[in-house]
């Protein structure tokens, strides 16, 4: 059933235009990372239900655009899946504003294989070599003599971005890697193929696939939060200066363990607490 709903979600996601906007009077505008987008949408929806007179307008466009919007003052909150760059801070200060980061969630990407795979641990170097197409057979890393089927994500997804940054260290994933357009599709792809390896956000793990430990460290909430698990990162919301008014109220809501953070977990990310 989970599989079906994953696929449905994929179809709906594809059909949807990223822009989820609502026009209104007193409102908060959010822009930026599509990785943070699901969290922002879930939390904003809940927030608007509790505060009917506040309207929150959310759009995607990528982390760079989110931070740029903060610098230009075209948004109240800029979502970003990376920390602000020195260059951008400088630009912001020149324009008379100081961006303030709020870590709102963590993203943890876990390599997965078919449940029948006897491998249980993999090193960062092995992962990189597999995704570069340098290791092409399971027997090179202690498995059976079978070709490795490498499953990757579409290059514009946030999940790919983490993978590229943390595992590939900016090297390219080789063109022979299979591309899937969603976490759910990667799970299906790996679950249906015993030669496959893929990577997914921690929220999408289920018993159809087997999670690998990376360098002996299991990807969990704890190892993500204490920074031990290597394929993880913080997700941020930036504001122009220290937030006040509606924006501050909203951010408090996002960070609250019983309110916003609940939806973080629901969107497949690791909450702060």
């Amino acid at each position: 059933m989970k599989k079906v709903s994953n696929l449905l979600a994929m179809a709906v996601g594809l059909a949807m235009v990223v822009n989820v906007s609502a026009a209104s009077a007193a409102n908060i505008v959010m822009k930026g990372s599509t990785t943070v987008l699901p969290i922002a949408q879930e939390v904003a929806e809940a927030y608007m239900k509790e505060n009917p007179d506040t309207k929150i307008t959310i759009s995607g466009g990528g982390s760079g655009n989110g931070i740029k919007a903060i610098i230009d003052g075209t948004t109240d909150i800029g979502n970003s899946s990376r920390f602000i760059k020195d260059k951008e801070v400088k630009l912001a200060v020149e324009k008379g504003t100081y961006p303030v980061p709020f870590a709102v969630a963590y993203d943890c990407i876990i390599p997965v294989v078919h449940p029948s795979n006897n491998l249980s641990d993999i090193s960062m170097d092995q992962l990189k070599a597999i995704y570069q197409g340098k290791i092409r057979n399971w027997k090179e890393i202690g498995g059976p003599d079978k070709e490795i089927v490498v499953i990757s994500r579409d290059t514009s997804s946030g999940t790919y971005e983490v993978w590229e940054g943390k595992v590939m260290k900016k090297e390219r994933v080789y063109p022979g890697a299979l591309l899937q357009a969603s976490n759910g599709a990667v799970v299906t792809g790996v679950a249906k193929n015993e030669n496959a390896i893929g990577y997914i956000g921690i929220g999408y793990l289920n018993d159809q696939v087997k999670a690998l430990t990376v360098g002996g460290i299991e990807g969990t909430k704890e190892t993500t939060l204490n920074g031990k698990f290597p394929v993880s990162r913080a997700l941020y919301m930036f504001t122009r200066g220290w937030p006040d008014g509606d924006t501050a109220k909203f951010l408090n809501y996002v960070m609250h363990p019983d309110q916003g953070q609940k939806y973080v977990e629901k969107s497949g990310y690791v909450p702060l607490y």
Binding site: K3, L7, A11, G13, L14, M16, V17, V18, T34, G60, G61, G62, G64, N65, K146, E147, I148, V149, D154, T155, S156, S157, G158, Y160, E161, E164, K170, R172, P175, G176, A177, L178, L179, Q180, A181, A185, T188, G189, K192, N193, N195, A196
Partner: protein
């Protein structure tokens, strides 16, 4: 009284004219939009590098915008799917129009057309969950999400188009031709092969080409079952990434009016050119080889 009728007539004519005009205008505007959003990419890469570049890494730094592997993927998937779909579609059409008894035809025809009613996401899901593991086991290949699988699924989708349009073409061959052939002592088989097929060839060709243009533009199925590897296929069991799959997978998250966004629209232009060519060819064949009267056969 007469005046009233005439003005009503005129009014209706104008209404229908503006409706027809509106749909043409909308199509034209979509085309203008497509070109407006796609052409700026050629300020970043040359047309040659775009069409014949071997690497598609739109988000890396510096990016590569080469769609040659994607074009090859689309062409090979479409070609292979026609290999499955044309014989099946056309032969089914011949059977339905010429050989099947009325009762059988009444059951078979709606069943084939039902295939067209299956949403593409369902066919894609079927290919992903059922066909892919099956192919993997039977052919002992690393992955079942590949060119062969997607060609098979696309064939399912184009068979109804090919079959029902061909059937119409075959059905509309004038009975005089058929009866004449039979009266001259030709067998049923000879009549079909030598008389009915040549007489309906323009309709059948149109059907085939429209079926193929459906296959080349199909998105959901190839996104789900073609595998998505951005390289030139080595065999029919290699994973590939056709043009529409790239657009669908990446468009939602490409920064608005960035290079990546322009590049995806430029892929749209390439697809548009492909389907336009298919349609022009279909139109040309339909006119050139149209069977007029019975004497020219």
């Amino acid at each position: 009284m007469r005046n009233k009728r005439q003005s009503a007539e005129k009014l209706m004519q104008r209404i229908f004219f503006s409706i027809a005009g509106a749909s043409i205008a909308i199509l034209f505007l979509i085309m203008v939009f497509l070109f407006m959003e796609g052409l700026p990419i050629f300020g970043v890469v040359s047309v040659g590098d775009f069409l014949f570049g071997h690497y598609w890494y739109p988000t890396s730094d510096p990016p590569d915008f080469g769609i040659f592997p994607l074009i090859i993927a689309s062409v090979s998937v479409t070609a292979l799917s026609s290999v499955f779909a044309i014989p099946l579609g056309v032969m089914t059409a011949i059977y339905l129009a010429e050989l099947a008894s009325k009762r059988v035809a009444e059951i078979v025809k709606p069943t084939v057309e039902l295939l067209a009613a299956l949403p593409s996401v369902v066919i894609g899901f079927f290919g992903m969950v059922v066909v892919a593991p099956f192919l993997q086991d039977v052919f002992d290949i690393p992955t079942g999400l590949n060119l062969f699988n997607s060609a098979l699924m696309l064939a399912f989708m184009s068979i109804p188009t090919i079959c029902s349009l061909s059937e119409d073409a075959i059905y509309s061959v004038s009975p005089g031709l058929k009866e004449g052939s039979l009266a001259l002592g030709a067998t049923r088989w000879e009549t079909i092969l030598r008389v009915i097929l040549p007489a309906s060839i323009s309709g059948i060709s149109t059907a085939v080409i429209l079926g193929m243009s459906r296959a080349i533009g199909e998105t959901m199925v190839v996104l789900m079952v073609a595998g998505g590897a951005g390289m030139i296929p080595e065999s029919i069991f290699s994973p590939v990434r056709p043009l529409p799959a790239s657009i669908a997978a990446e468009m939602a998250e490409a920064p608005f009016r960035g290079d990546h966004y322009y590049a995806l629209f430029a892929i749209g232009i390439v697809l548009f050119v492909f389907t336009l060519l298919f349609n022009l060819v279909a139109d040309f064949i339909a006119h050139k080889y149209r069977q007029v009267g019975e004497a020219s056969l």
